[in-house]
Amino acid sequence: MIDRKIALEILAFGITKEVLKARSIEIELNEPVNIAHLKEVLLQEYPELGDLNSLAIAVNSEYAEDDTQLSEHDEVALIPPVSGG
């Protein structure tokens, strides 16, 4: 069995930009990968993300569920608690 890897660019907004110390990061993950898996990897790398009130993930500008599968070229974004208005 061959591990196929996908490279994902993760956009960071609001406080997550400060936690990641970047507007975006690139990570490589073994397929298949879903949102729950991505979150685990991120929390391990950036434990401060676990201190937030909430952390949603958007894929291609839509809120994603834990079981949403990720593919190469997806635009992934970290959505900390929103506070517009």
């Binding site: 609001g14 406080i15 930009k17 009130n53 958007a58 974004a77 929103v82 506070s83 517009g84 208005g85």
Partner: protein
């Protein structure tokens, strides 16, 4: 009309966007930058948006409003970038044949915007900055 802008938000222009001879009532909600939060003086706010997604989430809200109420026109405009105390952060205008519908639809938009639209504000104090609602 849905827009994010760095410019000052013009209420008269917003009203003109939704005003038509067929609407009897227009409700406009304006959120401004408050000078204090929890008793602490605020100097300014910085708004950041995931712009593409913010527009699409706002469009969903507007679509819902149009499906639920007999809305004739809707305009939503939200600030991005730095805003000083008293400046406009968000302005929403809804034109309907009858006023109750305009009030309800406008309130729905601002309530839902605050829950779902990926825009963040950072409060800037004399002695630091805080991303609003980020932490418990």
């Amino acid at each position: 009309m849905i827009r994010l802008t760095k410019e000052n938000i013009d209420i008269h222009q917003l009203f003109e966007e939704v005003n038509s001879g067929s609407a009897g009532g227009v409700d406009i909600f304006v959120g401004t930058v408050r000078n204090a939060t929890k008793g602490k003086e605020v100097i300014a706010l910085e708004f950041e948006a995931y712009e593409k997604m913010a527009i699409s989430e706002l469009q969903k809200i507007v679509d819902t409003v149009i499906s639920r109420w007999p809305v004739q026109k809707v305009a939503v405009i939200h600030a991005v970038g730095y805003k000083k105390v008293g400046e406009i952060a968000v302005a929403i205008a809804v034109a309907c044949p009858h006023r109750n519908e305009a009030f309800e639809a406008c309130r729905y938009i601002i309530d839902t915007l605050k829950e779902t639209v990926p825009i963040w504000k950072k409060e800037i104090f004399h002695d630091g900055e805080v991303w609003v609602s980020a932490h418990p």
